[in-house]
Amino acid sequence: MKTNGKNGHGEMVTLTYREAVRAAIREAMQKDERVFLMGEDVGSYGGCFAVSMGLLEEFGPERIRDTPLAESGFTGAGVGAAIAGMRPIVEIMTVNFSLLAADQIMNNAATVLHMSGGQFNVPLVIRMATGGGKQLAAQHAHSLEGWYAHIPGLKVLTPATLEDARGMLWPALQDPDPVLIFEHTLLYNMKGELPVQPVEVDIDKAKIHRHGNDLTLITYGLSLHKALEAAEQLATEGLDVEVIDLRVLRPLDTTTFIDSVRKTHRALIVDEGWRSGGISAEISARIMEQAFYDLDAPVERICAAEVPIPYAKHMEEAAIPQVDSIVAGVKRMVGEYV
């Protein structure tokens, strides 16, 4: 992390997404002594994706806790600690492994408030890595955040920018109910500038990253950057595309994308998750329900191919949405007229 001097927002620093997440954890631990981090290899090893590097030395083993390879056990411990008054951050190495903790997440974290007649909130934050692109193959590279967005009682966040990586953790910890944060593995090395002083962000609104009139690209996570790159390319060909980062998959900020579709009359959803029964299907359905008569073309989706994410580099690339497929999809939908 290095300081760059001033630029309108006060002092700026250049840092990576990984460092932004680490700064968020550090700040939360400093501000609230009930906050602690636990997960596989988060302590001595510094985290599988090196997010928690140095935190063990700074905060000690009481608050940076290495756990056995037992997702159900330590996620359950997190649920219990949260009910008992702590503010745990549980790190699960990848979303594929979270399935071992699915019982704790769905049957306990998401339901205890309801099952206890409102007596017990579960102020738990679970962070996990998601997504493909690093040749980690079919047990480490899936995008299952859309599944979790199916479950009432959870809030599902997908920080795609440095600002959100830095800013979403604190409001997530303030939320009285369980919040899941999905960090795309390819984003950890993304570099950019942030103000030294943390910027407050919300955890309930989608964000329009680029304004346009011809079509709305609706996306989240890593795909946001592919969508923005596609929009840049399309702009050189005279197409004016709006790009929305959903940021929050549950509850969905329907208003933002419906308003946008009412303006552009076309929507293309880009989702690294699978198409069948995915979050892209939910978004498409809401557009049909609320903006059908404003559509100038059928809603389309660019999603992961319906296969386990392949290991081979060229096949993995072919399986997930890429800039070229987004550009082609937009052109197909717009037809001859711009």
Binding site: H265, F292, Y293, D294, L295, D296, A297, P298, R332, M333, G335, E336, Y337, V338
Partner: protein
């Protein structure tokens, strides 16, 4: 097979007299064709048909007066499988308003077809075509898979607007002076010729009386007024007109119409109808333009989609409307579609006009005379051409604050005449 009923041509119409049939049994008709004229208290109105088909029977003889909603013709669909329209007979005593008219005469809507194949139309294109009254079967789609897109409809409308249907009886010609009054009618209305103007006058007075009494009884009006410095818009228009041949010159009232339409885009609450205890704002902006008749009385035919028309198109539309109004050749849609009324009594020397809203509309905009007045700017006194604009608003539908915003944006639009 469907019934074509006597349409309601305004709030105050309970019955109409069939004046003339333009079709006979066996004739093929297309949506938008004028098939008959009907005499009402407001003159003889051409009646359009809203479906394609063939006339099977004519049920009413010319000269017969029948209540609104009475079947007057039987139409057979052009395609054997075309769904029958559902005629909704309206009891003569029922209160009719412009929305009834639409409900009444919107019959089966056959899919546009090219060689019997179903044509793809995007939902927003279909909606737009319906608003603009565009026939989708005339359009070639350029969207994905050949679907008709919004852009296709707009393009069609843009090209089509250059060649509107022209009435044979009264070819439109330019009106050189302030057109609202004074211009002698090209020909007496058919009704006047037929019945004698005294009786016609009395009927029209009764119709106006009914509508205005209802307005005063039901609508809690509020009034706002503001004065506008017309120096800039008039100077701009004068310079603009210098560049044009005399017959293409634009009258100041056209600026007022366009500025009103644009202000309604910004403040949509004033544009629409109050129906069933609720405001139904209209997306389309059809400005009812009050036109006085030489023999007395007035009608307010609609300038359709005033916000989408250029100044030249508005000028042409207005001249055409005035001509046909005075010739008694208005179309039914023009009489029923207005979403707001604009009245301009400036050329009568009236300084300002406080209007009575035409129900079920929810606002009326009044313009007075442009008069040279002392005008203070930056502590200095000058003489400027000043126009007083008033707004009569329906307090059920909007509040004074919205009305104030409307007048404010209206004034702003007028100060940027080159953008109108």
């Amino acid at each position: 097979m469907s019934e074509f009923v006597m349409p309601s041509l305004g709030t105050d119409m309970e019955a109409g007299t069939l004046y003339e049939w333009f079709v006979k049994p066996g004739d093929a008709v297309q949506r938008g064709d004028v098939i008959a004229s009907v005499e009402t208290a407001k003159g003889v109105i051409d009646i359009e048909i809203f479906e394609d088909g063939r006339i099977d029977q004519l049920l009413v003889e010319p000269g017969t007066e029948v209540p609104v909603g009475t079947p007057i013709a039987v139409v057979v669909g052009a395609e054997p499988v075309a769904a029958a329209a559902v005629p909704v007979p309206v009891p003569a005593a029922a209160e009719a308003h412009p929305m009834d008219q639409k409900a009444l005469v919107r019959p089966s809507k056959p899919e546009p077809a090219h060689n019997g194949k179903r044509v793809r139309v995007s939902p927003v294109a279909r909606k737009l075509a319906e608003e603009l009254g565009v026939d989708l079967s005339q359009i070639v789609g350029t969207g994905p898979n050949g679907a008709i897109s919004r852009a296709d409809v707009e393009e069609f409308q843009r090209r089509g607007a250059a060649a509107p249907r022209v009435e044979e009886t009264a070819p439109p010609s330019r009106v050189e002076q302030q057109p609202v009054v004074e211009k002698p009618a090209e020909q007496p209305t058919k009704a006047a010729a037929q019945k004698g103007s005294t009786e016609f006058q009395a009927a029209m007075r009764r119709a106006i009386a009914a509508a205005m009494a209802r307005s005063n009884r039901e609508i809690p009006h509020y009034y706002l007024e503001t004065r506008l410095d017309m120096g800039r818009p008039l100077a701009w228009l004068e310079a603009e007109n210098q560049k044009r041949p005399i017959r293409d010159r634009i009258l100041p009232v056209v600026l007022l119409i366009k500025a009103t339409a644009k202000a309604l885009v910004d403040v949509p609450d004033l544009n629409g109808y109050w129906v069933d205890d609720a405001l139904r704002p209209s997306e389309a902006i059809h400005i009812g333009f009050a036109i006085a008749l030489r023999q007395g009385g007035l009608v307010t035919p609609a300038i359709h989609h005033a916000d989408l028309k250029s100044l030249e198109e508005l000028m042409a539309a207005m001249s055409d409307l005035i001509m046909r109004t005075r010739a008694g050749r208005l179309r039914s849609s023009e009489l029923t579609d207005a979403t707001i009324t604009l009245t301009n009594l400036g050329d009568m020397g009236v300084e300002k006009v406080y209007g009575v809203i035409y129900p079920p509309q929810v606002a009326l905009v009044g313009f007075g005379k442009v008069m040279e007045q002392p005008w203070a700017v930056n502590g200095l006194l000058g003489v400027r051409p000043v126009l007083t604009v008033t707004l009569a608003g329906d307090h059920r539908a909007s509040d004074g604050r919205r009305g104030g915003q409307f007048l404010d944006v209206l004034a702003k639009h007028l100060q940027e005449p080159d953008k109108l």
